[in-house]
């Protein structure tokens, strides 16, 4: 019973109270008329948009862009992360550089990306892949580099070859860290999505917010924001479930 409360009812109560406050502020008249729609108006607009304007396509496109960004970014980050974790001089060489690129907001690169890649889909995906790569690679190599030397020693003392050491000790130890990195990348990619879709995107949640703002459709701006939040939340929860299953052996599991 307390499990249901902890997993479902309390989180719902959290959202519920937020929506309630939103509703009360909206009907109280504190905000000038037309600037803060009521939650039910936003839901109504979303329903109309889903029906008349194929809003689902925007959701699908955005989710797909984030997934591609995370998949490609993290796939590139994985081997690079392992290399940097394994070879200390390599890490010392590239760590400051990678920190520089990670600290650089992807949005700052948009003008450059437009110059080199134009305003097509490649440009948007590049921004997302960039964001996912630099967000995850640092988490991966820092995590793997800090794995306890004791397990490596134990395996070596039992006669493990380099390959066996990698496959049977380093990889299992890295799994939780890699999943954390993927989760970080998902978060960063959703945060970067709107920026990426600012590059002349016709469709996508970022584009629909941008369009709605241009036409002062404040309900739809709110609706888009809510949908981005919801999509990101669902992805994050799914990943948390995967993590919990994959790293059951850990003492503590975030999520």
């Amino acid at each position: 019973m307390s499990k249901i409360w902890g997993r479902i009812l309390w989180p719902l109560a959290g959202f519920g109270s937020f929506v309630l406050v939103w509703y009360l502020v909206a009907v109280s008249g504190v905000m000038p008329p037309g600037q803060l729609p009521r939650p039910d108006e936003v839901v109504g607009t979303l329903a109309t948009q889903f029906r008349d304007d194929d809003l689902l396509l925007d959701v699908r496109l955005s989710v797909l862009r984030v997934l591609i960004g995370v998949a490609v970014g993290c796939s590139l980050a994985l081997p690079v992360g392992f290399l940097l974790a394994w070879y200390t001089p390599l890490r010392q060489m590239f760590d400051p550089l990678f920190s520089f690129f990670r600290a650089l907001p992807p949005i700052a690169l948009i003008p450059l990306v437009i110059i080199y890649l134009g305003i097509g889909e490649q440009a948007r995906l590049f921004i997302l892949i960039y964001a996912a790569f630099f967000a995850s690679v640092v988490v991966i190599y820092e995590g793997i580099a800090s794995t306890d030397e004791i397990y490596v020693r134990a395996a070596r003392s039992m006669g493990a070859s380099e390959m066996e050491l990698f496959r049977r000790v380093i990889v299992p130890l890295a799994v939780p860290q890699v999943l954390v990195a993927v989760r970080v990348a998902v978060g960063v990619c959703w945060a970067t999505l709107v920026a990426a879709e600012l590059i002349a995107a016709q469709r996508g949640l970022g584009a629909s917010i941008q369009d709605a703002a241009n036409f002062f459709q404040i309900e739809m701006v709110y609706g888009g924001v809510v949908l981005i939040g919801l999509s990101a939340l669902v992805m994050d929860r799914l990943l948390a479930v995967v993590m919990k299953r994959a790293v059951r052996w850990q003492d503590r599991v975030g999520g």
């Binding site: 306890d148 004791i150 397990y151 020693r153 134990a154 395996a155 070596r156 003392s157 039992m158 006669g159 493990a160 070859s161 066996e164 049977r168 000790v169 299992p172 130890l173 799994v175 790293v247 059951r248 052996w249 850990q250 003492d251």
Partner: protein
Amino acid sequence: MSEHRLDDGAIATGVPKIHFDDVRIGFGKGAKRKEVLDGVSFDVRSGEFVSVLGPSGCGKSTLLTLAAGFAKADAGSVEIDGSPVVGPHHDRGVVFQQYAIFPWLTVRKNIAFGLTLRANRHNKADINAATDRYIDLMGLRGFEDALPKTLSGGMRQRVAIARAYATNPSVLLMDEPFAALDAQTREFMQELLHEANLEEQRSAMFITHSVEEAIFLSSRIVVLSNRPTRVHEILDVPVPMPRTAESRTSPEFIELRRHLEEVMRSMSSFTHGGTP
């Protein structure tokens, strides 16, 4: 698995299991250099259980690190079965002070880990038989499928010891494996290890800073001095085998304990009261 450890080649030719000869190691460079081991020599002979006892910071764990092949001495030689140590090898089973069993593997898979490595070349039936044997030897029956996070510290070290035995090493190297356990568990683990090793008859080097533990487990005790470390003395333990809880109150035990505590006390007062 059932070869007789006591009458293998080593004893016939008189080659010690572990041989430390004038081992020196230090840290730092130039004026900042600190000698840790300053010419340490002793042997662990076939079938012997030798404890290395010494004040904290004297480098007793460093000796184990050298024997295990995780580090190299600056001078002198470390030999296992007559061959110089060049790196880690499965002829030495190592038990660490920290819980070094793999947290992502069950008890059974932890114990079988070494056996499933290519270096040890076992078939499936052998692996299962050996794993079962050491599960029973260390009293882990019923916990085969447990993950380490669900086990107490004492249970984790039982898994670590079973894992070290399982690869059939020529010598066991143990680095204060019970240091993190509470007093009661510690005594129990000493008794469990003693019984297990009477059955297994492995040569062992056991690092400890506990006088009581050293006497209870060992046939001989190597006492190290303060830094720069040399061998202070080597003592035979006259307490008859097999040892039980009662052995701890035997006159021989108490006499040796008094002597060793005196030695340890004089060393620690030297450290704390001497010139810096």
